[in-house]
């Protein structure tokens, strides 16, 4: 068993008057894929957005409780969000490449963080990131074309490459395959399997089959509460909680 990378204690989130997360306690292990499942609006996306403080972008969102990465508190006001996000990358539900060239899409992160001062260093980062995201072979001859000209699945892998480019420790994935066709999905899943050797990955997914395929650990959220968490095998074969049972057998959701 790997050591714990991210630890949340009594995490609560409010959107204005509405509470979205209730006392979530969840440990996420290093170099492992953790899948978060549950019906829509159950708070799983909210939870991962707490890890890299993306909720800061939303004015009315208030986060209380603790999240630690390697024992360092994330919700600390003095913590620099920018360097936090350098360590915790994110891939979104819909591919969102910048309306720039493929090359610029990936070099953007390293440039702002001052990694890769020379052109050759940058070239190397871009190449490595694209290779890691299994896109290199497809795009190596057209790095100058806009990122938006790629297909949906390629765009999503471009976004994964963009996340990898700053060499993070954690990658958060918010339903990364929900806008993709099955073939593109399969490619991304393969990629995730490969990436977990280097990174700690948290993936939010709607598809239970996907959770089974890619994750080692699964957490089930319902109405803002973490109902059950455990080894993926156990959750899907023999859950402790009745509600989990009902959800994975498709009685609601």
């Amino acid at each position: 068993m790997n050591k714990v990378k991210i630890k949340s204690k009594n995490l609560n989130v409010h959107y204005g008057q509405k509470q979205a997360l209730f006392d979530v306690n969840l440990d996420l292990n290093e170099k492992e894929v953790t899948a978060l499942i549950g019906p829509s609006g159950c708070g799983k996306s909210t939870f991962i957005r707490c890890i890299n403080r993306m909720n800061d972008v939303i004015d009315i969102c208030k986060v209380t409780g603790n999240i630690e990465i390697d024992g360092v508190e994330v919700n600390d006001e003095n913590l620099d969000v920018v360097s936090l996000r350098e360590r915790v990358g994110m891939v979104f539900q819909k591919p969102n490449p910048f309306p720039k060239s493929i090359y610029e899409n990936i070099s953007y992160g390293p440039k702002i963080h001052g990694k890769g001062d020379t052109k050759s260093e940058l070239d190397e980062i871009v190449e490595n990131s694209l290779k890691k995201s299994a896109l290199w072979e497809e795009v190596k001859d057209r790095l100058d074309e806009p990122g938006t000209s790629l297909s949906g699945g390629q765009q999503q892998r471009l976004c994964i490459a963009r996340a990898i480019s700053v060499n993070p420790e954690v990658i958060l994935m918010d339903e990364p395959c929900s806008a993709l066709d099955p073939i593109a999905t399969a490619k991304i899943e393969e990629l995730i399997d490969d990436l977990k050797k280097t990174y700690t990955i948290v993936i939010v997914t709607h598809s239970m089959a996907q959770a089974v395929r890619v994750s080692q650990k699964t957490g089930f959220f319902h109405l803002g509460k973490l109902i059950e968490v455990g080894k993926t095998e156990k959750i899907f074969k023999n859950p402790d909680n009745k509600m989990t049972q009902d959800y994975i057998t498709g009685r609601f959701g």
């Binding site: 972008v57 936090l84 969102n96 953007y108 992160g109 702002i112």
Partner: protein, 467 residues
């Protein structure tokens, strides 16, 4: 007279409404016919048929009557022996004849005038009588026609709707008519102007001083006279002055407008935004004459004072004052539009940038603005077109003399200022000086048209990309 006619038409046609309604009602009841529309539509039908042809006729008649009478009267006066050297004299005589007819003429009467006044009275009488007769004829004919139509139980609602739809269509055509009117009225005088002044001499001449242009006889201009004329109508200093002041204005408006647009779209809390957006838009609502007054009486003298303190000669009508104030006027055009444009950049792009650890300003500079660039450029172009078409600020605060200069402390003039200067007060048509104002207007119209066209295309393209 016309008012009485309109009144009669309205009264008559509205009474037809009640007639048509009750008639069809009784028809339906007694004959047990199923009507295709509610009885009131038969009423409407009659009203429209009875009033529209008559009103349209009246309108067309009223437009042409004065012109026709005028040419007839001037003809008769000429036959009586009146001599007109040009159009202005003829107009004058015509006005005199009109005044005699109305009994307000105080000057001396001669036999020609007397005779013509009698002829005028005669023609007015004939025209008025025939107008009344024709209008009643039209009303009767169209009423009979429509009454006959109703008897056949036609689909009154459909017919009414077709007519109304026509009315709606005609209303929307007014926009085209206005454009046509603008183009024709500008072209008409401009062509006359360019028949005297070669268009290339106008476009590339470097001297503008229309007050020097006297033409005794426009139909025969000697080469020497033309040399002098050519020197009075050179467009280059005007476009240079206009461009220069617009450039100064953009120096103020673009950074201030863009930064406030960015701040409002990206940083401001809802409260700040709710307060500052309307206050900045006040700047666009203040009449330009107010800016002109402020620029001419406060800012201009202030700059001269400051300049004196530094040992600089600053014209009290400096391009700087006009440009600065114009720039402030334009701020909201840039800020509101770029605020809108930035707001329509999808949030997912920002999220993508934050997620790799960019700060807010890095995200704005490297992701949001490049994405919004076509829209922002469009809004800046619209602002430029605003600046070159702006009149009052430059009329009041910029100079009148056409200087070719790039010193913002000197005075310079603009296209719009010259149009106003040439046309203010009494102007005689048919002189190259007056016509030059229309040539300037045409140039301005074309320039703003091109700018707007490009800008609207850019903004539209951009909108389509993210909608």
């Amino acid at each position: 007279m016309n008012l009485v006619l309109i009144f009669l038409i309205i009264i008559f046609s509205s009474s037809l409404f009640f007639y048509g309604r009750s008639k069809t009602k009784s028809l339906a009841i007694s004959g047990n016919i199923k009507l295709n529309a509610l009885p009131k539509f038969y009423g409407y039908y009659l009203v429209l048929w009875c009033s529209i042809p008559a009103l349209v006729f009246l309108l067309i008649w009223s437009l042409f009557e004065p012109v026709i009478i005028k040419s007839i009267i001037i003809d008769t006066a000429a036959k009586q022996g009146a001599i007109f050297n040009d159009k202005n004299e003829a107009n004058l005589v015509y006005e005199k004849i009109k005044a005699i007819h109305l009994g307000t003429y105080l000057g001396e009467l001669d036999s020609i005038l007397k005779e013509s006044a009698l002829a005028y009275a005669k023609f007015i009488n004939i025209f008025t009588n025939s107008k009344v007769v024709l209008i009643f004829g039209i009303i009767i004919a169209s009423t009979l026609y429509s009454l006959k139509k109703i008897k056949n139980n036609n689909k009154a609602r459909d017919d009414v709707e077709v007519i109304l739809k026509g009315l709606l269509f005609v209303s929307s055509l007014i926009a085209i008519l206005t454009t046509l009117g603008i183009i024709l009225s500008l072209l008409f005088e401009s062509i006359k102007f360019f028949s005297v002044i070669n268009i290339f001499d106008y476009l590339f001449g470097t001297n503008w001083s229309p007050q020097r242009a006297f033409v005794r006889d426009a139909s025969s201009i000697t080469p020497a006279e033309y040399q002098e004329l050519k020197d009075a109508f050179g467009f280059v200093p005007l476009i240079a002055g206009t461009g220069f002041i617009a450039f100064l204005a953009m120096l103020v408006a673009v950074p201030v407008g863009l930064f406030s647009g960015i701040y409002m779209a990206e940083y401001a809390s809802l409260r700040v935004r709710r307060f500052s957006k309307p206050v900045i838009e006040i700047l666009a609502g203040i009449p330009t004459v107010v800016y002109g007054f402020f620029a001419a009486l406060t800012v201009g003298p202030f700059f001269r004072q400051v300049g004196e303190n530094f040992g600089l000669t600053v014209s009290s009508e400096s391009a700087l004052a006009a440009g600065l104030i114009m720039g402030i006027m334009i701020i909201p055009y840039v800020s509101s539009l770029s605020d809108d444009v930035i707001n329509s950049v999808p949030q997912s792009l920002r999220d993508g940038s934050y997620a790799v650890g960019a700060t807010k300003s890095e995200t704005i500079k490297k992701v949001v603005i490049p994405a919004a660039l076509p829209g922002i450029i469009g809004s800046i172009l619209l602002a430029v077109s605003r600046a070159i078409g702006e009149t009052m600020i430059v009329v009041m605060a910029a100079g009148l003399a056409a200087n070719l200069t790039i010193n913002p402390l000197e005075s310079t003039t603009t296209i719009t200022t010259q149009i106003v200067m040439i046309l203010v007060g009494d102007q005689e048509f048919d002189s190259p000086k007056t016509q030059s104002a229309f040539a300037l207007g045409l140039t301005l119209f074309i320039a703003t048209l091109i700018l707007n066209f490009i800008a609207q295309r850019a903004v539209k393209k951009y909108r389509e990309k993210y909608d």
